[in-house]
Amino acid sequence: MRSSHHAGRTQRPVRSRKRLLAIASTVVALGLALVGCSSGGSPSGGATDEKATITLWDWVDSSKAIALFEKSHPNITVKLDLVTAGAPTYAKMFAAIKAGNAPDVGLVELNTLPQFIGTGGLLDLSKYGANDIKSDFLPWAWNQVSNAGGVYALPLSASPIGYHFNDDLLRQYGITTPPATYDELLQDAIAYHEKNPNGYLVDVPPTANYMALLTWQAGGRLFHADGNKWEVGFTSPQSKQVADYLQQLVDAKAVFTEAAYETPWYQALNSGQLASFVGPQWADALLASQVASQSGKFRVATAPQWTTGKQVDGQEGGGSLAVFKDTKHPQAAYEFVKWMLTDPQAQSLNYQSGYGWPTTKSGAKIPDLDQSVPYFGGQNPQQIYQASNDATDQSWQWGPNYSTVTTDFNDLLAKALSGQTTIWQAFQQEQTKELGRLKAAGIDAVSANE
């Protein structure tokens, strides 16, 4: 042991190090050349009657709709890969785009779609006839997936919001009508926590998604495309309003501050530690599966508002189906995406499987949007969601790197909610960080406040 440890020091012949280096560098160059030519291969046009197998990366089990599609399109087989929701799958998609082995079709949330467009890895669907079905979709949903350059996905789902509350718990602690404004929510939350020191009325998740939602509702903009440059607005007056408001809840220690849609959050809802949350329509499917113990006790109300008597809502989530550029069957892939989003039966199945709110004009008529839901004690929550969808501020835009914003802003918010900074400081730091990020990526951006 000891002798071997010293051996390296005594004599190290300066042998053919140069030669070795020469060998090595040649091999390295060969390796790089191999890496370099792995992508490429032009997509063949191909008619729909050609036999095709397309792969779909998706985190909502759409197998029922796929089976229906395969029945009516016998030449196309769709292979569903159920993947992890959100960020981990985006990481794989980004890598796959680089490597040239992306799936044919993938689920991408509307907030992250611009970042995918920016990789150049998505197929422009206008070349396959996407503009012909433009009028089938709600205009703002169409705007989310297209720009002057093309149509980069079809909008799969909207995500109107509501106030989801455990009615039993609220009544038990004296709240008989759900809070109509954020001011009321603040007062109720503090009163609730005083009466029930082990429980919280509401949560403040340390996530960019939640901050975006509340800013959206307040009429603020995190991103706004002004001509050929972005105006970045994390420090807008509306964001300040949101940050200061949430800080009051946090300072009163009257809120649950773990990330939403994660295990501890579901645990808190199951145990009754957390009684309500402002969240998207697609939370209904998650509540039914993850918070089954409270079935029948939850109700949905209109989300709290910043201004009394005037409903302005934002959205949280919302998805699209994008076709990746390296697909060998672009026509078949487009055919599948188009069918998934416009076929009446498919739209109904999509809603049932938990994709979210339909983005088509015909989607508003599917029978599922008018049904009493046992989980919500027989309530028909769709009216609430439909009203929220109608009241959504439609000028909202997602920036060019939301996946990066999520990483940075979530970190800053985690610091704020663990008491190391304030929420407003998190917004300010994110503003600086984001402007630096965009500049480094060569994207034109200015602060919206200037």
Binding site: M1, R2, H5, H6, P13, V14, R15, S16, R19, L20, A22, I23, A24, S25, V27, V28, L30, G31, L32, V35, A87, P88, Y90, A91, F94, K98, P114, Q115, I117, G118, T119, G120, N147, G149, P206, N228, K229, W230, T257, E258, P264, P400, N401, S403, T404, T407, D411, A414, K415, L417, S418, G419, Q420, G436, L438, A440, A441, G442, I443, D444
Partner: protein
């Protein structure tokens, strides 16, 4: 691609003098061909990734305007490095693992040395069993160990939190901003103390036993034997374990990644390695991630060299 013939061998090709003197290090054809499989694998799987990472670290993906068109990937000079070095999160991450190393390495190696010396005393019963028990955590994959400890630290599940609460120590939050680093140190020490103990034990077993007999005849006790005879001879092995610990510490990744799932105090930039991971996979910026990785490798090399330099100067004087 072929191996170039060795000049020395080529020069002597015509004469074939039996007394030809060859430089001791020069390659002959057979020798070179024997080395070829190694050279190819070494180049492909060791050098190529390093070279590739270094190249990547000087590139950047840039797009103009709104950033919604296909980006161009081009030479970016030192931009990535400047961005990393000027990012306060990177400095904070490096400082954090520095603090972590100062706390963690002495405890890990100290415990390992203590266990190795105690288990070296032949009168201790069940020595073999204890050695296996101490080593056992290393046999558990780091991620599994991390998950196991995450449950033990999680405020709502931890028996320790409940125990401390029951004896009136208040509510201890192992995951709060200023405590979580020590929670991570706890996991790492648990994981690696036994492993280092085994290295030191092997080293102890290699020491010639005669000297201990001689010492005992001279009236040397167990403690003095350990302090004055065993530890000095263990020095090279200790140096090696510390060196491995430094390298391992600077690459801290698994444990904070697991704890980040349950603690708001562990961010995506908590350690430089986590930061590189987030850049590559959350932010789709492999170029910045490469720059972070290269900087981390340089820092690791410098720390290792400084440590080795210090210990050598010591042993020389």
């Amino acid at each position: 691609m072929t191996v170039a013939p060795a000049p020395a061998a080529a020069g002597g090709a015509g004469t074939q003098s039996p007394r030809r003197r060859r430089r001791p290090g020069s390659l002959t054809w057979p020798a070179a061909s024997l080395a070829l499989p190694f050279a190819i694998l070494f180049a492909l799987f060791f050098l190529a990734p390093i070279v590739y990472a270094v190249i990547q670290s000087f590139l950047a993906s840039r797009s103009g305007g709104l950033g919604l068109g296909p980006p161009t990937i081009g030479f970016a000079g030192l931009d990535n490095y400047v961005q990393v070095v000027t990012d306060p999160d990177f400095g904070a991450g490096v400082a954090r693992i520095g603090l972590f190393a100062i706390v963690n390495i002495p405890i890990t190696i100290g415990l390992a040395l203590f266990f190795a010396l105690v288990m070296d005393v032949s009168s201790i019963p069940f020595r073999g069993l204890f050695r296996v028990l101490y080593f056992l955590p290393y046999a558990i994959p780091g991620v599994v160990g991390g998950i196991l400890w995450a449950f033990l630290f999680s405020p709502s599940l931890s028996p320790y939190v409940q125990l401390l609460h029951a004896i009136g120590a208040g509510t201890v939050d192992f995951l709060s901003p200023h405590v979580v680093l020590f929670a991570i140190a706890n996991i790492v020490i648990w994981n690696f103390a036994g492993y280092n103990m085994l290295i030191l034990t092997a080293s102890l077993n290699a020491l010639p036993p005669e000297q201990f007999e001689a010492a005992r005849i001279d009236g040397c006790g167990r403690l003095r034997e350990a302090l004055l005879i065993k530890i000095p001879q263990l020095a090279p092995a200790i140096v090696m374990t510390v060196l491995f610990a430094i390298i391992g510490t600077l690459q801290l990744f698994n444990e904070p990644l697991i704890l980040s799932l349950i603690s708001k105090s562990v961010t995506t930039t908590y350690t430089p390695n986590l930061m590189a991971y987030a850049e590559a996979f959350s932010n789709n910026n492999a170029y910045l991630a490469s720059a972070i990785s290269v900087l981390l490798a340089v820092i690791t090399a410098i720390c290792s060299a400084v440590f080795l330099g210090l210990t050598r100067r010591r042993s020389a004087s």
